[in-house]
Symmetry: C2
Subunit: 572 residues, 2 copies
């Protein structure tokens, strides 16, 4: 029914007032001319495009879905027209380099655009979702010939792209990939194997599709070090169709607008991207940006769910709210019932904090690219540590908080009518792809924290604590939580040698504990940024802040307790 | 792929060894002859019927679903044949009185049957799910003529039944029901109005359908006290079709096998059931049994999800498990990875404890019917307090724990292949119907606990604590949790007068805290019952017990903290 409207005022408030984004970005040379007014204008235009062109296609995207016949995939009604309008208006090129036809704007604007797109139509947004990663991959690892051939097409979005990693027996463990690449006389390779779960592996949205494929050269060692990256276009420059066949598309829980393809490569002519055996490195270059985008899908979907539930709860009247006067007999809007209030305010606390954290991370990505010295080092630290946390908790929250929003509708939430159950079904996949949430937790604790004895994480926590002065009660509580998390970090570092499985047992709890500290920090930043320019009333910001402290943050102590007991059991 | 197999050995172990069910029930006169061997035989036969007849229809039930055309509803392939086989084999009559063609067996066997049916095929099971409630309703409130006409048909299940409560504007607040009943000259009433969300409101499974409908007499006061209960059959005894039209069926997130109908009553001839203005009382007579059945749906669905995830995790190999030897390079079954182990063991802890609590509740329902004096009073107390807890937490766990089981499959869980995503979609509705989980929490705290100043709850807690001797560490922890819950109960009772909204703010936390104490208690009962007759190895029972204590129970302290702070804010 009511479809998503981007809250660009809330979004811009976080970017400008809470994060001081325009000034921070103008300090980086490529963005010296990008002022607040330009940023706001881009966001407003993006909000309009999303609401007018993309959001209205979401229901058909789910109900009609993509279909497959004899290797040909047809996307839902309107999807191709919307995509053509999207790339021709220059949206995919937002943060690509002007050297390749891009607009050279900061990554954070692209991040905010993808938040809106995902909120409006997750299925459609899957198509351009991998473009920027493919662009960066070829930009950094491709030969001059490949760059010449692909960069502008990918920067502008005229051609779409895929990432072909997974095989039936190789999911989280890409070291098991079996697809083989045999050298051809012309310097290319004949690529053979079957890839599954390929989003947008075949479709009618764009005139060409650029597949990035992980495969093994004949002399490659087993395991992840034997993987190389290749590029295979759907159509060669002379119009020849490559030997890539879409064998079927999957029937899924949701995301029906996005064709999830089984792709069979039958000795398809492929070009090597980067060095042999360095396939995973080439892919990992874009990992942080891709994971941040998935986190933004979560934030967008949760906001969309919240918007629907909020609107419904204001209209729907059932029973008197507790504490209401005895006289009247008219039922109250369910928004006034405490159980509903709690759901709505808690989800809003997640969304607002999510924006602070995600936009900050996007700014740090630009700092990695364009700053030097300590600023760059700190940006790398932030992105390495915060990105897996964001990916895991915001995809989790989109599904679980989205389900809470569904609950606001009662039985009306379980039927299609309001579109809320679609959000819950669509959101579920994001907990799995781009590295399952369990993999994110291991990435954080084992690969990022333990690897340097916790030093980077402790430095990050110092930075967070420095932002929270010890004045109000809530600030003291936050500082204490950061102290606790510091202790847990050191505790795991010390206990891990005694039991190599320990970090894996507590990784999920550790990631949640870190996330809650980040959420807590983000709301102090919001508190500090609040002024007369903030959209909405005081209650607009006080209600989620209160919900955060009453209902959301207590999980921190629970997680801390679990981790502490696990460490004690090892160290005695 | 792999379809559900009832674990009747686990189920019977809980009933016989953990709960001493056969002896407890044989002490009630109607069941004096029902010994353990008979119970086990009934369960084994039920398990076979469910596996052979009902489970295989689940996938088509979801994919083809029920369909509507011109008021006629067609159920999915095989559904009618399976239902005819079901009632003709006597399954609906299991616990109905022999006076009405029933088999007079204890309610717990019916409960266990419905756990299996729901696990195997939630959509199909919706059809007979309301039979027993309708039977009890007419048995206790119907006139002799109505009893004569309907009881045997409902007891045997030859005819199916519906509950027509909800209207578009009246969901949780039934006081807003508008359907009207005008007296007819023959003593019946002309019933007019539109009911929504009527499970099985129209279908082809049985030759007749008996609708129980809430409506208002012309002189009825507004609100819930103006509601009366009526019965309207689809077909009158002379074969005339009643003026009830199925206007459409809903498109839902799941449960596609069960038609959710909009029913329009056009001056349909209706008979009054019970006294005018006592419609809700007549419905509430069966509330505890109905809510227990919904809790059993949750337990069954969670078990089905667990079975699928457990089987997949033993076969699927990805990466070495932490702590595995360095030498081998073969990837390990993901069941050996701690994140997966945690999911599997935690869900099993919920399922096992769920059975202890649900079967115990079913035994108490029989005590209410057939015991006297203190035993009966205690049984009433148990059912009043424990039933809303069970309904809320096990439907919650089926969805959230089911989603965790989906996660075990990675991307393979998001596609239809293994049927796990269907379980998650199907399970979601049970958090809403039969009183939303938020309503259960209010029912528990406001209507059951506060109403007598907490006395019944404190007595229940005394009983739980008496079952847990103060010997082992885990026992001391459990006793301490019970003490804490006692203090929270008293705290809310004392603080509530200062803020009438307080109980509504903490109702969800209170219900969760109670549930965790019950779970904790249930596992002590399991520990006490373990002997050589327990199915499986020691690890079969130790792993979920450990998971419960490590990962599940820490939520108790979090909930206690939230409640305590809310009470303090009121009492100062």
């Amino acid at each position: 029914m009511n479809s998503y409207q981007a809250r660009t005022d809330d979004m811009f408030f976080v970017l400008s007032r809470v994060l001081d984004g325009p000034a921070q970005l103008q300090a980086l040379s490529p963005y010296a001319e990008v002022d607040a007014a330009l940023m706001q204008q881009v966001l407003d235009e993006a909000g309009k495009f999303v609401a007018e062109v993309v959001a209205p296609l979401s229901r058909d995207g789910d109900e009609i879905g993509a279909s497959w016949k004899d290797g040909v995939v047809t996307t839902p009604p309107g999807f191709r027209q919307a995509y053509q309008a999207f790339w021709q208006a220059g949206w995919p090129a937002l943060s690509a380099s002007p050297a390749h036809g891009g607009q050279g704007l900061p990554s954070v604007l692209e991040a905010m655009l993808y938040e809106m797109l995902s909120a409006a139509n997750h299925g459609w947004t899957m198509a351009p979702g991998l473009l920027h990663g493919a662009y960066e991959c070829i930009r950094h690892h491709g030969s001059d010939a490949l760059r010449e051939r692909y960069l502008e097409k990918l920067a502008t979005g005229e051609w779409l792209a895929t990432m072909c990693l997974t095989e039936a027996h190789a999911g989280s463990d890409l070291g098991l990939v079996r697809t083989r690449a045999e050298p051809l006389p012309d310097g290319r390779y004949a690529l053979s194997g079957t890839k599954i779960f390929i989003s947008g592996g075949e479709h009618d949205l764009s005139d060409n599709i650029v597949h990035l494929v992980l495969a093994r050269l004949p002399d490659a060692p087993p395991g992840p070090k034997g993987l190389s990256l290749f590029v295979v276009p759907k159509f060669e420059p002379d119009g020849t169709r490559s030997a890539v066949v879409c064998e079927r598309i999957e029937e899924k829980m949701g995301l029906h607008g996005s064709p999830t393809c089984v792709l069979r490569f039958d000795a398809a002519a492929a070009s090597l991207v980067g060095a042999p055996g360095k396939g995973l490195n080439a892919m990992f270059v874009m990992m942080n940006a891709a994971r941040l985008h998935v986190a933004l899908q979560g934030i967008g979907l949760l906001d969309a769910a919240w918007q629907k539930a909020d609107a419904y709860a204001r209209e729907r009247r059932q029973m008197r709210a507790p504490g209401a006067g005895k006289g009247a007999t008219t039922p109250d809007p369910i928004a006034e019932h405490p159980a509903i209030r709690r759901i709505l305010d808690s989800q809003r606390a997640w969304v607002d904090a999510g924006r602070v954290l995600a936009y900050r991370t996007a700014i740090e990505l630009d700092r990695i690219a364009h700053a030097q010295g300590q600023a760059q080092t700190q940006a790398q630290r932030w992105c390495a540590l915060v990105t897996p946390i964001m990916k895991a908790v915001f995809t989790h929250q989109a599904f679980h908080g989205g389900s809470d929003c569904l609950q606001v509708f009662g039985g009306h939430g379980y039927v299609r009518e309001w579109g809320i159950e679609q959000i819950v079904r669509d959101a579920r996949v994001a907990m799995i792809y781009e590295g399952t949430n369990e993999i994110q937790a291991i990435d954080l604790l084992v690969r990022k924290v333990l690897v340097d004895g916790g030093q980077d994480m402790l430095a990050l926590l110092d930075g967070l604590q420095a932002d929270v002065p010890d004045a109000a009660d809530t600030q003291a509580q936050t500082r204490a939580r950061i102290d606790t998390l510091r202790g847990l970090t050191t505790g795991i570092v010390q206990a891990a040698p005694g039991d190599p499985a320990l970090p894996y047992r507590v990784a999920d709890d550790y990631l949640r504990a870190c996330a809650l500290v980040l959420l807590d920090w983000a709301w102090h930043r919001i508190d500090a940024g609040l002024d007369a320019s903030a959209p909405g009333t005081g209650a607009r910001w006080q209600a989620p802040a209160r919900a955060l402290r009453q209902w959301v943050l207590p999980e921190f102590e629970m997680r801390a307790g679990i981790i502490g007991r696990q460490c004690e059991a090892v160290t005695g």
